[in-house]
Symmetry: C2
Subunit: 375 residues, 2 copies
């Protein structure tokens, strides 16, 4: 096959599509400006010649583009799916104790086939005149009403048959939403949206040797629990107190579980890192895999890039910050060491918590400079 990109030579390019079908296919002005960022933050600069060079058929670029035909080979739909994380705390029975905080993810119950009744990540199609990032931001806004958050592209999933209807790839994103009142939007599906508490734990670990190579498999259990989902908008909209706590109602808990295997294969020279859904109960499509990859990315970024600060409200105590770290990493941290490391990332304020049943704690805010330098 040829190395040419997007000329479709190997997939047939002669049969034209009805021009009607192409009305969304933008052909921007490219006289002197190549791949623009369009809309967002400035255009990319480019020095290539302004279209005077002629190709093998003697055409200038302008002539080439005017005659260009998209061809009728198959194209996939591309969706943007969102793994929206937050950390929130439950109300504690004992008025003196601090609430336990847990990592949560937003899911939506499917009302139609396929995976009818299963829970899925919010998402939607990327439209012709937007980037995948913009589609993700749009979905997030529509789903949670939140606009200014941390958003990161995770991975593009393209397994054959991952959507039984048609060829659909999905570009997965992770979003971090802080733990103040989250107003899950009153879209036409808001009654089917719910926050799920999430655990993702290593269940087992196996190493296998085979002819000069090693296969290392790790099994993780992904468990998602929602309290009071299905009770409609009220649940999702109730939101949290200013301290990010909410009461839970154990009556109608929903529990979804999946086993995700991560398999590292290393034979001579080759190396693959595959995720596989070994068991899945209640999650739609390959979303268990997306959530698993999102958590692993989140943990990595929290440890390396202090990403947890994105989950904090304006003012917070260092213990709250530590709890967020602990909820995400799913392990306990030592207080003294944690405070040493957190110290350069935050700034003292003169405010303190009050009436907490114990010694008040100083409130901090994110430091303006010292974090977020993602290497």
């Amino acid at each position: 096959m040829t190395q040419e990109r997007a000329e479709g030579s190997s997939l047939g390019k002669e049969n034209g599509l009805d021009p009607e079908k192409r009305n969304g296919a933008e052909k921007p002005d490219h006289s002197g400006n190549g791949s623009g960022k369009s809309g967002r933050s400035g255009e990319d600069a480019d020095k290539r010649s302004p279209g005077t060079a002629r190709d093998a058929d003697g055409r200038t670029e302008e002539e080439f583009l005017a005659a260009y035909d998209v061809g009728d080979y198959e194209r996939p739909s591309v969706a943007a799916d969102m793994v929206i994380f937050t950390v929130a705390g439950d109300k504690e029975a004992n008025y003196r104790k601090l609430p336990k905080r847990s990592l949560r993810v937003l899911l939506i119950r499917r009302g139609g086939h396929p995976y009818l009744g299963s829970w899925a990540l919010p998402g939607g199609f990327v439209r012709p005149n937007e980037t995948a990032d913009q589609a993700a931001a749009r979905e997030l806004r529509e789903e949670t009403g939140v606009d200014r958050v941390y958003l990161e592209q995770l991975h593009t999933f393209s397994d054959v048959g991952r959507d039984p209807r048609t060829w659909v790839m999905s570009c997965a994103y992770m979003a971090l939403v802080d733990s103040r009142g989250l107003d899950v939007r009153a879209g036409d599906d808001a009654d089917r949206a719910a926050w799920f508490e999430l655990t993702y734990r290593l269940q087992g670990d196996s190493r296998e040797r085979l002819g000069g190579g090693v296969v290392h498999t790790r099994r993780y259990e992904l468990r998602l629990t929602s309290f009071g989902a299905g009770s409609g908008e009220a649940e999702a909209r109730r939101g949290n107190g200013a301290d990010g706590t909410e009461s839970t109602d154990e009556a109608d808990a929903i529990e979804l579980t999946a086993i995700v295997e991560r398999r590292l294969t290393r034979t001579n020279g080759a190396s693959t890192d595959e995720y596989r859904i070994a068991d899945n109960d209640g999650l739609a499509f390959d979303h268990a895999k997306m959530i698993a990859m999102a958590i692993e990315r989140l943990r990595m970024r929290v440890e390396r890039d202090e990403l947890a600060l994105h989950l904090m409200p304006e003012r917070f105590t260092l213990t709250q910050l530590q709890q967020v770290y602990e909820a995400i990493l799913d392990r306990e941290l030592l207080k003294a060491a944690f405070r040493r490391k957190a110290e350069p990332l935050v700034e003292k304020t003169d405010e303190y918590t009050e009436h907490a049943g114990h010694r008040p704690s100083r409130l901090y805010r994110r430091s303006r400079e010292e974090w977020g330098d993602y290497r």
Copy 2:
């Protein structure tokens, strides 16, 4: 908008396409098995009900899928582009000195519009019955003849207008090929393929405050140099000696440069991390951005996950390994510290280098167990 995925409700779904147009759109059997990995390593497990549930229109899943219509909204083409890295050394004038090693990337000169005459990453379209990973592996094989390598998905690029012809997204991959003889394939474009030495250096750094936020911009200079490209297949196929060195011919050097800006914006809560091509001379499309992201990912993985071992041949000296680290990270490392850290990753052999003009050096091989545990 609705949260429904892939039903196209917001983009119109009533107008059917000619069935001819859909012959590539697989509709796998989903009676009891959801999103399969198809082909590769096992099917994903799934417990959802086997299609007896009925949706709002009273249809079972089977009925739904039979009636399902892909709709005629616009779909993008999706390409897989490859940033193929290797490290190779030039012949040194002084017989005693060790050759300098440099990081290289494979580029292909475009023979058609757009970007006629510019250099591009090898790549090709993802086909209907393969994953993006498979498309990337296929391209790599076609381009270099190499099959068993390290391959990692990097990022999906979807800027509007990034391809002037039509709507094309690109899923970028990074591949690591070891430094033994690389046989760049005799495809119809092989005469236009060449390895480019690569440097990627921080040029400047600026911080700017604006209303409660900080913008941190880093400018990088990407410089690609090829010696003797354009001399046809011979150049690309000549390959390297067993020690990964080759002679260079300074006569017809090609130099491409680009300035890539990475901009970290942090306003209250929000946070973005954008790459922008500020200047571009000789690279097609947004490929300067892809190469920049690939190097940053590579550096991160080399530091954290010892990925450089993938670039080594069967037997190598610790100094060679250190040189590969240094070429990738673009900084010098201390020998003693390096050897301490490398020691658990490699295994001694009883072989030594010979006739090198100085003390022989022990040869090592990759350890079977102790590396590649990508966290």
